[in-house]
Assembly symmetry: C2
């Protein structure tokens, strides 16, 4: 028995109190199972793996922000205005990479190493990871840059442009706590560094406490393998926290005793004010909500009955209440929260609305189960200690921008972003 095998056996004794993890899993490396029909590699057969109707055209939008984004190579925005319910179809999950695109990884060759301040460093194949106890949870992932105004001084025109950096999926994976317990975290350790297999070796420092609480090493998204652009074959899911922590194409977890302050953590992730002061280590995504229909650049055909619908979420826990105003915030009504309302997941809200053909300003406000309330733009400015003009002139990547978001309905039925109106 070589030392790798010895460590594997010790790992299991510590993590699941059972010895003997044989190599190989019950599924083959391709996820193919004996007896399954095999689609031809070239021709698509929608009987074997279905496709949406050719009449459906909803699509991610490729970010065309003029802002210099040194640490990002591409952003694909989720079309929230087209979606129903709380699950984001995997094909439409947002993508916001911090480096060159990742070529598709071969799951048979991929490895995850756990090392650093641990008693028994270990390297996992994907099959070995899949042999361990897993959990499935419906979680949102949101980029901390979601909703940030454009640098041209105007806010985004559509809800896809303003809020399209949040999505919600059912994630399945191994609790990181189980992996860390199995390797034996050494006394004095307080952070981990999670590293991607992407070309720039994107990495992120994460406090050990969060890793032990609810962080997942996820290989499945909405029932099937994580999609390539979402970190195939394995990624972190750090629920409720900035999406930048949920490292994709995960290949290394190093247990350490301090944050490592990688280039992207220094340059992009602190949120700098004009006076040079900054917020660091603000991990939790605050309470947020947005009306997705009607929303910016949509057209209401005429006076009459409509349902105002939208999404609410909070990195603090579970959405408890969503209020909607149709008069610019003078009065508020409780919206219906649709079952299921789950911790650290998108929640769907609805409110019936009779449009009388006059100007109206529609907006929503989320309250979570810890009592945190989504702030107005003014309240957010006070929290940050900045003037309103700050939000539209900031040249850094301002994150954690979660104000109550107003859409103005004009008499002609056109709907426009009214955040800075």
């Amino acid at each position: 028995m070589n030392s790798r095998e010895t460590n594997r056996r010790r790992f299991l004794k510590k993590s699941v109190a059972l010895a003997g993890l044989a190599v190989g899993g019950m599924r083959s490396a391709s996820g193919q199972t004996p007896g399954s029909a095999t689609p031809d590699g070239s021709a698509r057969d929608p009987r074997l793996y279905g496709e949406r109707s050719s009449f459906e055209k909803s699509a991610r939008e490729i970010e065309r922000d003029g802002r210099t984004r040194p640490f990002s190579s591409a952003a694909l925005l989720t079309p929230l205005q087209d979606l129903d319910g709380i699950i984001t179809p995997s094909a439409l999950h947002y993508v916001n990479d911090h480096g060159p695109s990742k070529d598709e990884l071969d799951p048979r060759n991929h490895r995850l190493m756990i090392h650093g301040m641990v008693e028994r460093p270990i390297v996992f194949t994907l099959e070995e990871l899949k042999r361990l106890p897993a959990v499935s949870r419906i979680y949102f992932i949101e980029c901390p840059g979601n909703t940030t105004p454009n640098s041209n001084g105007r806010s985004r025109e559509t809800v896809q442009q303003s809020h399209g950096r949040t999505s919600c999926s059912e994630w399945t994976g191994v609790p990181l706590s189980l992996l860390l317990k199995g390797t034996g975290v050494k006394s004095g350790a307080s952070w981990v560094v999670a590293e991607s297999a992407d070309p720039q070796k994107y990495a992120k420092s994460i406090p050990l406490d969060k890793c032990m609480e609810d962080t997942l090493v996820a290989y499945s998204q909405n029932g099937e393998a994580v999609r390539p652009e979402n970190g195939y074959p394995v990624r972190l899911v750090v629920p409720g926290w900035e999406g930048i922590s949920s490292v994709k194409w995960l290949r290394r977890i190093k247990v350490v005793d301090q944050p490592y302050l990688f280039q992207n953590e220094i340059g992009a992730q602190p949120h700098v004010r004009h006076d040079g002061k900054a917020r660091w280590f603000q991990f939790v995504m605050g309470p947020n909500s947005v009306i997705t229909r009607p929303s910016g650049k949509q057209q209401i055909p005429g006076p009459g009955f409509y349902v105002i619908t939208g999404l609410a979420w909070s990195g603090n826990g579970t959405v408890r209440r969503v209020e909607v105003s149709t008069d610019g915030g003078r009065t508020w009504k409780d919206a219906r929260l649709e079952d299921p309302v789950l911790p650290l997941a998108h929640a769907r809200f609805n409110l019936d609305w009779q449009w009388n053909g006059q100007e109206a300003v529609l907006q929503s406000r989320c309250t979570d189960d810890k009592g945190f309330v989504q702030p107005s733009l003014e309240e957010l400015g006070k929290i940050w200690g900045v003037q309103k003009s700050f939000w539209t002139t900031a040249t850094t990547n301002m994150g954690h921008f979660n104000p109550i978001y107003p859409w103005k309905v004009n008499r002609d039925g056109s709907v426009h972003n009214a955040l800075f109106a």
Copy 2:
């Protein structure tokens, strides 16, 4: 104002207590929204609408049952052995049609008529339906013929073949109760007849009570439009009941005072015993569960630690308990139920298992929150008043076959269906 418009206004007064449903919706008929990028109709761009990794090959299996199936044209089975969590990817949802395949429907031309014993018959466009208050719910749909043994006397070899006619999605749509309330159901009405736009005009009688309780007229599946083979652009979802009630490509709801006993209801859906007695109108799918890994035709690489995982569900309500036996039913252990456990949805269970390399028989048993327990094959025979041989020699479409389902692990690690062993 023509009579159609008059009825529409009256409908809204009754259903949502608000007048004035203008024609046209906030989304265009294609689901396309201003500002969305448009994928080229011919070339696929995975940035706009993502695709799974080319390494992933999991697929629906085309039913190759030798049984004469006069009312079915095709069956596509969900690869449960490959899936994680509770959401079935829409591309892998089971399909079991009762007639020739449906050509893709153009949503702009599709209509839903509600008529019969109602005060105000009405015809809806899809856009009009989408204007009404909707709910989103995670529900399983299961064919009553799921798990039925082959007519050749042997049971299915893989879990995809035995249990691949159940799937679970987030469905969004208008409660049928709202539509019926709006049209004004006449006194004496007790059933509805739901009709499909497929070539054979598939239709199903459904008691009015269920329609008023929780039945949905659904246009969305896992966040986006219902897939073509699952009823695009609109279908019924009758939660917890036989999948045959969840009429796809829904075009007509007729309120009536008795079941209509359509050809398929007479020929395929009563469950006939050898002595000629039959069960009719057994709508609710009973408590069920199955171990999906390890399962038939899989290979366990060697003794050691594994997680036994599977799905449980019940048309009566919510799964409360899943027990797993690894010794053919002599002893049972409670499996972990993974959050969320939702009413009328699949639930995921897991149990850690140390395989010692000896023969083992693995099986699971579901108990729901109404106290119903999944029966053994013997118990099911007593309920039906039939001998064991009945199940393997029946020539009719035996449905509601939900026995505890054993998989035998041989010493060489091979796994086989042991239901009739």
